[in-house]
């Protein structure tokens, strides 16, 4: 059989998707791609990012090399100008002729420009191609104001682009509201409010009647209501029109308002010609979104390869971020279905609007509009697409108080789409698992699910976990690809074999070179076991930057410094030193939640100087940078307080001094309260101590932060020595057995046997390891060193604290502005443009 010759006209996103889909099929086929634009297919959807600093070349979806590898012949910058259906030949502008067996038209669309006098002015532009962007960029030079005609999805994208160019941006829309196709009136209004809040002016119900030249570089737009608007440039983005001229000239059937008519197989009125994407008209509809175009491309590729795929229309539901505002529209957003009922919540204070459209019997979700908060989008989409029965009070799906009632993966039918970017259903994922995929990564690689926008990641993970668990597959708990072990196992391997370095560990129990997961985890295990200085040469390359430089990296790459203030007790003299150091090095100064002082904005080369002054004054490192004991907070206790029953400050200092520098799977916080009023909030700490008339009560496993957990009462009325003994054992048992980055609260929750088991191990010594735990803790306590003090005495260690190894020049990337009398990092819009230099 001779090779099937497929000619594709157009190399936009849909044309590209078609050729790559077809080329990967097991088919003897010659593919020829003819494109009008001078460059290979690129991601038009993210065009506006070019204005935000992305290179145009970064948008490319493929390279000529990858096309060549797929056996595709490519001819770009040479549009097809005629089509002879009789002889099955297309001819390009340069006169090249190509025969075809099958022709695929993927010619896309062009921006609709209303017929207004003056719209052909050179400062009136379009927004579709990278060349259009270049034209907009050069027109924007020296311009102050830019107008986008069109308040739809593309128009607002374009407004974003103009604003990124620094123009005073206006949007002019013919309809009474923004995005009127996808949004109802209140949703549209909420979107408008949000967008105007960003400094963009919106004009609606404006019918442009004339565009006049004012001087050499300005324009005046005149509207039907006699108002007018002056501007320096205009970009038309008021919808699209299909590129069907080739089809018309060769008498293919086209729609009255344009578009090449196709059937459900994406075949035109000529059985040898397909049309896909924005140039195609399916059941009276042109789809201006990329996803339906992709579905058409897949359908056409499948038919050409002998398959039976059908394109049955596409869901136009959309979720996107427009100018930073979340916007979602699902199904029947305008409630046009007969008998439809509407539940809507408008929160002007939060700037959100949420509406659901429900069937007359209250059982099905027909549509939704979401502005300002799209958290519920995925769940709502599942309800709508799969006709899942709604809960008794459907409004709970959008009320904030009830939280997001996530639809569990196991409640979905097999036909439910999990990943809408790549059209992967729950059924596809189950098939992949049946076929042998044994992990989330396998499923992703096999089905492409969750490799697009990533919005379905959570649902995909829970589905895969459920399905694997149902098949009795043990979930892989390796900490990373380099070690097939949990942290607990690694701890034991290191201890039993006396392994003292990362190299030893990887030789003994792992593969490869390590990564940012296993290296710090093993560094922490090494510290818990052997307690060497973290800047020892064999350890230095494993540390996270915070440990390497013994300070906390902030968002701009500078560091913050937190000296230890045990128990929160500090002399006036030492407080003055902190003030002086802060002043001398111009550091932003803030009191932390843990009764300490944080000094921000130090650069790498300043850290040793700062610490020399601090250690000279008697300060030690506070380990705020480490997964280590942080602070032991205290109330003022019986020394001063009328109600205190024990010296809580004294006990806090004792505890903090004992465990300072203890490296652990995660940070550890503690507090001591002097009476039952609990002013130190000890019950929100990894371990907390509360004074009683007879001694101390010990609490364990508390946490504040993201997932607060009240600590559990562990033992009561302890004397000082017993209290410390229990804490020694408790902490060491946690250090040995917890997972990487697992706080005591989740560790305790996951501990089989829970609190009772922990009591047996720590109090009753049921495992017979209490002495060993105490011994190990005492080793750590006895080998404590202030890491900063040691480092300051070692020139080799200090060598790392250089901004640049070859220059004393300033780091121009670090920029500050002043606010409320102190410095802070400059925001993007406040920075001198040094980024361009870097990229």
């Amino acid at each position: 059989m001779s090779v099937l010759k497929v000619v594709v006209v157009g190399n936009g996103m849909v044309g590209h998707h078609f050729v790559t889909t077809l080329a990967k099929k097991d088919l003897d086929v010659e593919i020829i791609v003819l494109g009008e634009e001078p460059r290979i297919a690129y991601d038009r959807v993210h065009l506006s990012e070019v204005f935000a600093g992305r290179e145009a070349s970064d948008l490319a979806l493929a390279s000529l090399d990858t096309y060549a590898e797929l056996g595709i012949t490519t001819r770009l910058g040479d549009p097809v100008v005629s089509l002879d259906r009789e002889t099955k030949v297309v001819v390009t502008q340069s006169g090249a002729r190509f025969n075809y067996d099958m022709l695929v038209l993927a010619t896309g669309s062009y921006p609709f420009v209303p017929q207004v006098p003056g719209a052909d002015h050179p400062r009136c532009l379009e927004y579709r191609t990278i060349e259009d962007l270049e034209a907009i960029k050069s027109a924007a030079l020296g311009s102050k104001r830019g107008v986008v005609v069109g308040g739809g999805l593309l128009g607002l994208e374009c407004a974003n682009a103009l604003q990124n160019l620094g123009l005073d941006t206006h949007v002019v829309e013919f309809a009474p509201g923004l995005m009127s196709v996808q949004l109802d009136a209140p949703g549209s209004q909420q979107l408008r409010t949000r967008i105007e809040g960003l400094g963009i002016t919106v004009h609606t119900s404006k019918n442009t009647t004339n565009i006049k030249s004012v001087g050499s570089k300005s324009l005046r737009m005149e509207f039907a209501d006699d108002s007018s608007l002056n501007t320096d440039l205009i970009v038309f983005s008021a919808g699209i029109r299909p590129r069907d001229e080739l089809a018309k000239a060769s008498d293919l059937v086209t729609g009255e308002r344009g578009g090449i008519v196709i059937n459900e197989h994406c075949i035109t009125s000529d059985p040898s010609i397909y049309a896909i994407g924005e140039c195609a008209l399916h059941e009276g509809r042109v789809y201006g979104l990329v996803a339906p175009g992709y579905r058409m491309a897949e359908t056409a590729a499948d038919r050409i390869a002998g398959g039976s795929a059908c394109f049955t229309g596409a869901d136009m539901s959309t979720k996107l971020k427009l100018l930073g505002v979340d916007v979602g529209s699902i199904g029947d957003a305008h409630a046009q279905t007969v008998g439809a009922q509407v539940c809507a919540l408008s929160d002007e204070q939060a700037g959100t609007y949420k509406k659901i459209v429900i069937s007359s019997d209250g059982k099905k979700l027909l549509g939704a509009v979401l502005i300002g908060d799209c958290d519920n989008y995925d769940t709502l989409l599942q309800y709508q697409q799969n006709d899942i029965a709604l809960p008794d009070t459907p409004v709970s799906l959008i009320t904030p108080a009830s939280g997001t009632p996530l639809l569990a993966a196991n409640a979905l039918p097999k036909t439910a789409t999990i990943c809408s970017c790549h059209n992967v259903t729950k059924g596809c994922i189950i098939d992949a698992i049946e076929a042998g995929c044994g992990s989330l990564a396998d499923v992703k690689a096999n089905t492409a699910a969750s490799t697009g926008c990533g919005g379905c990641a959570t649902m995909l993970k829970s589905l895969v976990d459920d399905e694997l668990a149902a098949r009795g597959v043990v979930i892989d708990k390796s900490i990373c690809e380099h070690f097939p072990h949990t942290r607990q196992e690694l701890f034991h391997i290191a201890k039993i074999n006396s392994l003292q370095s990362f190299e030893d560990m990887i030789t003994h129990a792992g593969t490869g070179k390590g990564c940012d997961i296993c290296k710090p985890a093993i560094a922490s295990i090494m510290a818990s076991l052997w307690n060497d200085h973290i800047l020892k040469p064999s350890l230095v390359s494993q540390q996270d930057t915070n440990d390497t430089f013994m300070a906390n990296m902030q968002k701009d790459g500078t560091y913050s410094v937190v000296p230890r203030i045990p128990g929160g007790e500090i002399t006036p003299e030492k407080l003055i030193v902190l003030g002086e150091v802060g002043k001398k090095y111009d550091l932003y100064t803030k009191i932390t939640g843990a009764q300490r002082v944080d000094l921000f904005g130090a650069q790498l080369h300043q850290l040793p100087d700062i610490w020399r002054e601090l250690t000279d004054a008697g300060f030690e490192t506070g380990h705020a940078y480490g997964k280590a004991l942080r602070t032991v907070k205290s109330c003022v206790g019986s020394t001063w307080c009328r109600y205190g029953v024990q010296d809580s400050v004294g006990m806090a200092i004792l505890i903090e001094s004992r465990y300072k520098g203890l490296r652990a799977p995660h940070k550890i916080k503690s507090a001591v309260s002097g009476c039952t009023r609990e002013c130190a909030e000890a019950q929100s700490k990894d371990f907390g101590v509360i004074a009683t008339e007879n001694g101390w009560n010990l609490y364990v496993g508390g946490n504040g932060g993201m997932r607060p957990r009240h600590a559990d009462l562990f033992a009561t009325d302890l004397d000082d020595a017993t209290l410390i003994r229990y804490i020694d054992r408790y902490l060491m048992f946690y250090v040995r057995t917890a997972d990487r980055l697992q706080r005591t609260s989740t560790w305790l929750d996951s501990l089989e046997g829970g609190l009772d088991y922990l009591k047996e191990v720590v109090i009753d010594d049921s495992l017979g390891i209490a002495a060993e735990l105490e011994e190990q803790m005492s080793h750590l306590v006895n080998t404590y060193q202030c890491e900063w003090k040691t480092a300051l005495g070692d020139p080799e260690m200090l060598k790392r604290f250089r901004r640049f190894v070859n220059s004393d020049g300033n780091d121009k990337g670090v920029q500050f502005v002043r606010e409320r009398g102190q410095k802070r990092p400059a925001r993007d819009d406040e920075r001198d443009d040094v980024i361009a230099v870097a990229s």
Binding site: D516, C518, T545, D811, V837, A838
Partner: protein, 120 residues
Amino acid sequence: MTGVETKPNWYRLCYVDDLVPQSGVCALLERAGEEDQQIAVFYLPEEREQLFALGNYDPVGKAFVLSRGIVGDLQGHLVVASPLYKQHFDLRTGRCLEDQSISVPVYQVRLADDRVEICA
């Protein structure tokens, strides 16, 4: 990377003693008439190339920090993990493993006696 094309030259950057094995340092590329550039130089003595150089700017975290990331390998790529948000950048190509559309500049770099030289 746009603008007038100039012929790349080799520049002396620093000494091999300035480097830290299995880790990165930042060096400033100073050229007459050009803005200074921050270069992250990674030293992996057991690799064939031994030296790797990327732009120090992390385009995700938007700060000059890549030289301070942890070096390792992932899915067969030699990578540095940004210390800010932990994206991984391929030391050989500059590509971001988490988002193929993002990359950082890569420079040729070589050892000439005890000097580290960069081609820019």
